[in-house]
């Protein structure tokens, strides 16, 4: 720890002292990827390496963020740093958008180009029995080679719709919390934040239920051809992002309880809120493109 600022003044632009966190975090990720690469190939020790790496990484992130929060709370962050955070969060969210774009792109391509092509006249040469329908209806036409077991698709009703309502509501509760924050009503902020976090958890609960339902009752699996692939990868990555966003909000809530943030300065709060709204918007895309269309 080194935050020895001259006379408690906020520096023009705070440059942190040398720190071991970046190297430690990299070390953690080294074990993560080393382990993951081995684990997927059936080497048991990979899992341990993965866990070890995750532990190192998470611990490092924890101390790292704690340090950053401390710096923030001790007034080292000037408005210019605040602006840096705003820019960086925006660009980070942009990168996330592009990550989802890859999977949405895959869905688009599979449906609009691949599927009709596999079913067209030319391709009867290869796949005489295949009928190009989306979503795949089961039976022998479910996949070109007939290798995919029949399954039932996941409709928008009821869970995804309930989940849509939950996420939209959570967006509202979050906004209420934000207004309360700006108005300086801390207790109210905290209350609504907890509501938001709870809605996130409920969303995840529903999604878990949906997955179990898919595997057990619908025979809809990751291996259910391109439908299953896009369905689970899109909703799965989204669910993961909900989880991360929920953790962010949780941390913010706990910090609020500790008395962090002021009505004027609370970018940590806002950044988490932006992220949450981003997750929300992705969900709307999913809801229409994956469940309805």
């Amino acid at each position: 720890m080194s935050a020895a600022t001259p006379h408690g003044a906020t520096p023009y632009y705070f440059v942190p002292a040398p720190s071991s966190h970046p190297a430690m975090a990299s070390l953690g990720l080294f074990f993560v990827v080393l382990g993951a690469g081995q684990w997927v190939n059936g080497h048991g020790w990979g899992a341990w390496s993965l866990l070890l790496g995750l532990a190192i990484w998470l611990r490092t992130l924890f101390v790292w963020f704690r340090e950053a929060i401390h710096e923030s709370e001790t007034g080292l962050y000037s408005p210019r740093i605040d602006a840096s955070f705003r820019w960086s969060m925006s660009w980070f969210i942009f990168s996330e958008v592009m990550f989802f774009a890859a999977f949405f792109g895959a869905l688009y391509w599979a449906r609009v180009h691949t599927l009709p092509m596999l079913g067209n006249l030319d391709h009867q040469l290869l796949w005489p029995d295949f009928q190009a329908v989306w979503p795949s209806q089961g039976g022998s036409t479910v996949s070109p080679a007939g290798t995919v077991e029949p399954f039932t698709i996941m409709g928008p009703w009821p869970i995804p719709t309930i989940n849509t309502a939950i996420l939209l509501t959570s967006g509202m509760t979050l906004t209420i919390a934000h207004h309360a924050m700006v108005a300086g009503e801390r207790a109210k902020t905290i209350r609504w934040m907890w509501v938001t976090v709870a809605l996130g958890v409920i969303f995840l609960g529903f999604q878990a239920y949906e997955y179990i339902h898919a595997y057990r009752d619908l025979n809809l699996k990751l291996s259910s051809g391109i439908y299953g692939s896009t369905f689970f990868m899109l909703t799965g990555f989204h669910g993961f992002h909900v989880f991360v966003g929920m953790l962010m909000l949780l941390v913010i809530t706990l910090r609020l309880q500790k008395g962090h943030f002021t009505p004027e300065r609370h970018f940590g709060f806002e950044g988490a809120a932006w992220y949450w709204h981003f997750v929300d918007v992705v969900w709307l895309g999913l809801y229409f493109l994956v469940y309805w269309l």
Binding site: M117, D122, H123, L125, L126, P144
Partner: protein, 380 residues
């Protein structure tokens, strides 16, 4: 003069074995594209020369200016720097002029793109399947319909490659069964693949089409000359990517008809009745041919394999009393297709090659696999 080993390595190859150009294939130290043999290839040739000349002219002009400036405007000859650093007029000029040039270039290419893609009204349609690592040809429509065969690199050339002692003008381009087509007829090639992406290329025809597993694509050519034309697989398809050449034999209409007749008879004679019961040595003899043509590349003629390729000599699967195991491997492949599925071979061929491996080298099981067993296994 005999060179000692390290220096022999350094000696360029064709000094040792005087190589000639291969008509229809590459010439020695060829500088340009292959002499065109189709209308499209002629256009491509022309387009290439056209853009190249345009580029060279621009290049000379632009760098003429630069070198003039470098020579005249250097400090050592006393040049003093001017102070201009902006001019909207010239910026517009050198945006517009290149723009117009590329418009002309795009325009010039458009007609050829459209012509290249027009595969309608073909006289002959041939399906070309890329396998790891050979090509399969099926004549689907037109004269010769029904003919189908595999086309594999000459095994001896493959061995010469391994030995590091290449020789011959057609080195790595010689196949057992070339694709045969008539001259002056529009031939539509439908490509697909069995395992990974390959690409079917014949430079003299200006034809290149990826062969994509699970999908069909097409291209076409109309050769206006008889002769032999060569190409190679141009999409990385695994370890033997360099060893699956393409050889197209263009024949006159009469010769082509004759070839079709001959080929049909040959196929009829070869068409084995899968119900026939074979004797051991018959099957082994037949299996040896199949093995040499298909398996020897990886598993080696001595059955020892190499590196990650499993040895067959002494292999537990081959020696196993349960013949079903080996049949399963051949029909379905193994290790994610590192060992490909050989479904495309006939029942008799699969039976023969299995019988061969079970009785070759140190494998003396005496087991015999009949075509009927393959028929049964396929049914499952």
């Amino acid at each position: 003069m005999a060179l000692s080993a390290p220096w022999a390595l350094l000696q360029p190859a064709h000094a040792a074995a005087a190589v000639q150009g291969l008509p229809g294939g590459p010439a020695v130290n060829q500088l340009d594209m292959h002499p065109p043999v189709t209308e499209i290839a002629r256009q491509v040739h022309g387009l290439h020369w056209f853009v190249m000349i345009v580029c060279v002219v621009i290049f000379v002009a632009v760098f003429g200016v630069m070198f003039y400036s470098i020579i005249k405007h250097r400090k050592s000859v006393g040049a003093k720097s001017a102070h201009f650093h902006e001019s909207v007029a010239v910026e517009i000029a050198w945006t517009l002029v290149p723009f117009l040039i590329v418009v002309v270039m795009g325009f010039a290419a458009t007609k050829t793109v459209v012509a290249m893609k027009d595969t309608s009204n073909a006289d002959l349609t041939i399906k070309t399947t890329g396998y790891q690592w050979k090509w399969g040809y099926d004549y689907l429509q037109g004269e010769g319909q029904g003919i189908s065969f595999l086309s594999t690199l000459d095994l001896r050339q493959r061995q010469l490659s391994d030995a590091g002692t290449p020789e011959g003008d057609d080195y790595l381009l010689k196949v057992d069964n070339p694709l045969v087509v008539p001259v002056g007829k529009k031939v539509r090639i439908i490509t697909t693949a069995n395992d990974v992406i390959h690409s079917w290329m014949v430079p003299a025809f200006a034809v290149k089409q990826d062969a994509i597993p699970g999908f069909v694509r097409d291209t076409w050519f109309r050769a206006d000359k008889t002769g032999d034309f060569y190409g190679q697989c141009v999409e990385l398809c695994g370890k033997e990517h360099a060893y699956m050449p393409i050889h197209v034999k263009v024949l006159s209409a009469e010769d082509y008809s004759q070839w079709v007749d001959g080929k049909k008879k040959e196929l009829a004679a070869k068409a084995d009745d899968p119900k026939k019961t074979w004797k051991l040595d018959e099957l082994v003899a037949r299996g040896e041919k199949v093995y040499t043509a298909n398996c020897a590349v990886c598993h080696k003629p001595d059955g020892k394999g190499a590196g990650p390729i499993k040895a067959l000599d002494g292999s537990t699967v081959v020696l196993d009393g349960d013949k079903g195991k080996q049949i399963h491997v051949l029909l379905n492949g193994q290790n994610n297709g590192a060992m490909p599925a050989w479904k495309a071979l006939s029942d008799t061929e699969i039976a023969a090659v299995i019988t061969y491996t079970k009785n070759q080298w140190s494998n003396k099981t005496g087991q015999i696999v009949q075509p009927a067993e393959i028929v049964a296994a396929r049914g499952k």
